[in-house]
Amino acid sequence: MKLSHRWLTRHLPDVPEPYVIESILIQMGIEVSAKESWGQDFAAVELVRVVARVAHPNADHLSVVTVEGRAGTMTDVVTGASNGMVGEYVWYAPPGTQLPDGRILDTVNMRGIPSPGMLLSASELGFQEAGGDLWVYRGDRPVGTTFLEAIGGVDTLYELELTPNLAVFDQSVLGIAREVAAVLGLQFRDPSREFRYGTDGNLVGIVDPMGCPVYGLTELRLEGDGTTPLWMQVLLRSIGIRLIHPVVDITNFVLWDIGQPLHAFDADAVVLPIEVRRATDGENMTLLDGSLCTLTPEDLVIADQKGPIALAGIMGGDRASVRPTTRHVFLESAYFSAAGIFKSARRHRIVSDAAQHYGKGADPSMVVVAADATLGLLREVSGLATRLERSTLQGKVPNRREIAFEPERIRQILGVSWSDQQIQEGLGRLRFEVRDRSVVIPWDRHDVMATEDLSEEVARLRGFDQIGATLPSTPTRPGSRDSEVSFHENLRDKWAALGYWEVVTRPFWDRSRDVLGLGFEGTPVVVTNPLREEESELRRDLLPNVLEVLAYNRGRREQPVSIFELAPVYHQRNGLPVEPMALAVAEVLEVAMQYPPAADVGIFRLKGALEWVNRQLNLGLHEDPSGPIPGFMHPGRSVALYNASDLLVGYLGEIRPRLASLKFHAKRIGVISLSPIVPSAPARGGVILAPSRYPDVSRDLSLMGPNLSYQAIIKTVSQSGALHLQKMRLIDVFAGDFGKSVTIRLIFQSMTRTLTDVEVDQEVRQVVDALKQQGVSLRGQ
């Protein structure tokens, strides 16, 4: 909602400075999302007096007008206007002035005579005025007055964000002024005069009293051609309301002034009597905005004997709408129940000022006040005579709600020690009437149902900063993360420490993004209203999201990429969602050009990282190079991963190089995909052995054999029965035309004595014999 500071003076004669208003609004929970000054554009427009007027020598329909401005300056301006005679006061915009339509004025040559700027009509200033071309001023301000001064100077405009509860009662200048007055204890002008409706009961019948508890209708005859008073035009324009016709302008004004929507019908187009009823199925009507609206029995309509003339409380129909020529008017002031209006407006997707007010909840007691205010304002329109004819008020203003007054509970909820009297006084300022042990709720406070709500009211009024700051008195014992959460956090820490950057991706996914050819098992959770086509389901695999990040970064620049994410994936099982955690790691396998140069270890950095994490966090993973791996993986450079219960949980390896280059801007990419990711091996504690005090002996063996795998060598060596073999290390792998050769280093050591060469030789022989039985031979033998 837009709020004009100037408008507030209607209800607050001593309106505080704009910055004070802003701080009060914030205290009351009304968010000020923007603030701007309004009217500055009018500062250049000046009141001038016409001192001479001659016909243009070269054009029949033009005149050269000499005007006297500030400090006696004389200016000749060419005008096509028929009015603006000598002695009249008119508005002059000098060159450089920007008009509301965006034009910036200049000195132009008008048929041989230079004309600086222009004399203005009302519409050129964005206002309405009956009468001639130029806007002739009839007030008593002196020459040189700016138009800005004439309309009361610069205004401050606030853009207010009203939360749904505040929108119920704060959606008007009156509502805001009341809040400000309550906080500051200011004098406040409450429009409370009520219109006395007549008893022409045959005008209207309420068929649905639940949807419409109160309905007032007044018949008006207008005579003459009035325009809306300038002060009202200024206020309406400042908050962005278009000026249409005095009757419509005034109902708009009353709507924003006191929050009560009104509607005017062209009475000549209405076939009486009017009914307030539910629409019939399939009934339809053309609305004011020209759209056709198909109604249902859930919609409340204002209908005459020919059909609906308004979608009640939301928008008028086209048939009986007020036109510039309309001089016979039915003025509606009514109270509709909020829920019905809210639902209808939503169903028809109509956002109108009336629906914005009725749909949140209006004040039934304002029906008669708004009617009175409207008729009063109509009388202010010069040149327009208003004659009141028939009128009627149907229905009855409901009683105000009463709830229990529980000051002790209010104190307890807020944690304050305010006295009963202070609380009662505070509520009173906000129009809550305390009677004995109950509180009478104002009609428009549909949001207040219980003591909790009253607590907020008192707190708002006195200021949230008046409430102390305490801590809950419950004893505090520091909390900690449980084992599962700690495991996840640990896992993240480990990968980051290893040099892999954590990324965070959104879980939205679509099979159109499946460049890996993952294939799809199981059932996804489908998003039925995605923001984008390519986000139509939730991911079942984390790796593609992480690879997209890799591709994004490689697409931007050729750079090393080592990233991981630990996040849920989503499956649908038996119609229910499950969200297991997954780990995905991706790394571009290339050696950065650097000095001193780095070693190229390829996929073995990633593999080593996983092996380290596996051991550190008891993941219990073991690998199988011949296990199942997805088709997009390099078959010779991948392993399947199993957990301690031999359940297949993922894979590690390289993406096929061709796919990597084609889709991810990198020749070689190493990846890990794991899900579910849980520690599956028991934690290992216990004794850490002291090292032997005796020297160790190492021997290197170069081995050859068909399909030599290191895993097989380890297995054979460790089962060879060599008693003092402590460690074994791979120190070289060499491939030549002879096949593949693997050099291992064996380290022997005893805990109790120094081993002799003979003993070590004996054990080496044992190892070699075991290897030979597996078809492995020593190189050079």
Binding site: I26, G415, I467, A469, E502, P507, V525, Y570
Partner: protein, 350 residues
């Protein structure tokens, strides 16, 4: 000892003078003191002398040998020194070349900020609590006093899924209900619930997925003052003791009274700038006293207990801490951007 010895020592001296490498000196040592060396031969000759001369000659040649050894050792030391100096000179590196830093990466800023907040509340005695992301409409809306057609459902445009009555949760607040149900009537309930949440928004200040941390305390006589005290402790802990905090009334269907919390803008220190739209304040969380309907849905009697709850946006806090103005950067995962966070060594320590 006579002319003889002096000549020999002079000759040795000259030889050593001429030697320019350690190897040459070692050759000289061999020539003089080796098994077939000059002095060795002389010493052997002593054995042939008559007994009465043998003792004196022996002593004499021994002292000559000692003198020779000293001369050779000195020469050796001199040359080794020279060679070391040469080697050190040859091995000179350009030590202005930067070192190879260990390839340590960082956790995502959202993870770091989330943990920071969690740690603050863990110290205050909260425990962590979690709920599903694909959540039932009952937990996400109805249980939180947001019936169908409630305007607040407009404020939180939801993603729906192809499973009836489920949505992607629009906030972490459903964990309030789950947390109370899990506590099963025990007091106090004192939980925080971090997690991902989803809303159909995508612009510089909204992303369809973001992170929240929900807090909930339920006990006898919990008050709005307790909420303010807890949040003040949190903001000071998170953002430093010179931070200013402002409490404003607000509206959430699941709290009453409701309250939003602003802190002074980091970018301008409260004087007003583009980041804070000129207000000097940045909103960091929404909170309030748990609505009686919510307490009942969690299995607690609002006549017996009260509670407060709050929900904090991790992205928003991260933006406040790192002075970011575009939320979407946090989801682009541009390594150039992420690696910049390693330069952040400010307060709070992350």
């Amino acid at each position: 000892m006579g002319e003889d010895n002096a000549d020999e020592l002079r000759e040795l001296g000259e030889q050593l003078q001429d030697a320019s490498t350690v190897l040459q000196v070692q050759e000289i040592r061999n020539a003089w003191l080796g098994r077939k060396g000059i002095i060795t031969a002389r010493l052997k000759g002593v054995a042939l002398l008559p007994v009465e001369e043998r003792r004196q000659a022996g002593q004499q040649w021994n002292s000559v040998r000692l003198a020779i050894e000293t001369m050779i050792d000195d020469a050796l030391a001199r040359l080794q020194n020279q060679e070391e100096i040469l080697q050190l000179e040859q091995e000179r590196l350009d030590m202005t070349i930067p070192g190879i830093e260990p390839a340590v990466a960082l956790l995502h800023p959202l993870t770091r900020v989330r943990r920071l907040v969690e740690d603050v509340f863990l110290r205050m005695g909260f425990t962590l609590s979690y709920g599903p992301e694909v959540e039932s409409e009952w937990y996400n809306f109805e249980a939180l006093n947001i019936p169908p057609n409630h305007p607040a459902r407009d404020m939180q445009d939801s993603f729906f899924v192809d499973i009836p009555n489920l949505v992607l949760r629009t906030h972490t607040s459903p964990v309030q209900i789950r947390g109370m149900q899990a506590a099963a009537g025990q007091l106090p309930v004192k939980i925080i619930a971090p997690g991902r949440v989803y809303r159909r928004d995508d612009d510089p200040t909204h992303t369809p997925m973001f992170h929240q941390i929900e807090g909930l305390v339920v006990d006898h006589k919990i008050s709005l003052a307790d909420l303010q005290g807890t949040l003040l402790a949190m903001t000071k802990d998170l953002l430093g003791s010179d931070i200013r905090t402002r409490f404003r009334p607000s509206y959430f269907p699941f709290t009453e009274p409701s309250m939003e919390v602003d802190v002074t803008c980091a970018a301008c220190n409260g004087t007003g700038c583009r980041v804070c739209k000129g207000t000097g304040w940045v909103e960091i969380l929404g909170s309030g006293m748990v609505h009686p309907v919510v307490l009942r849905n969690g299995g607690y009697d609002p006549k017996q207990v009260t509670g407060f709850a709050f929900g904090l946006g991790i992205e928003r806090l991260a933006m406040r801490i790192f002075e970011l103005d575009d939320l979407r950067l946090l989801y682009q995962n541009d390594l150039e951007f992420l690696s910049r966070f390693s330069r952040y060594t400010g307060r709070p320590a992350l």
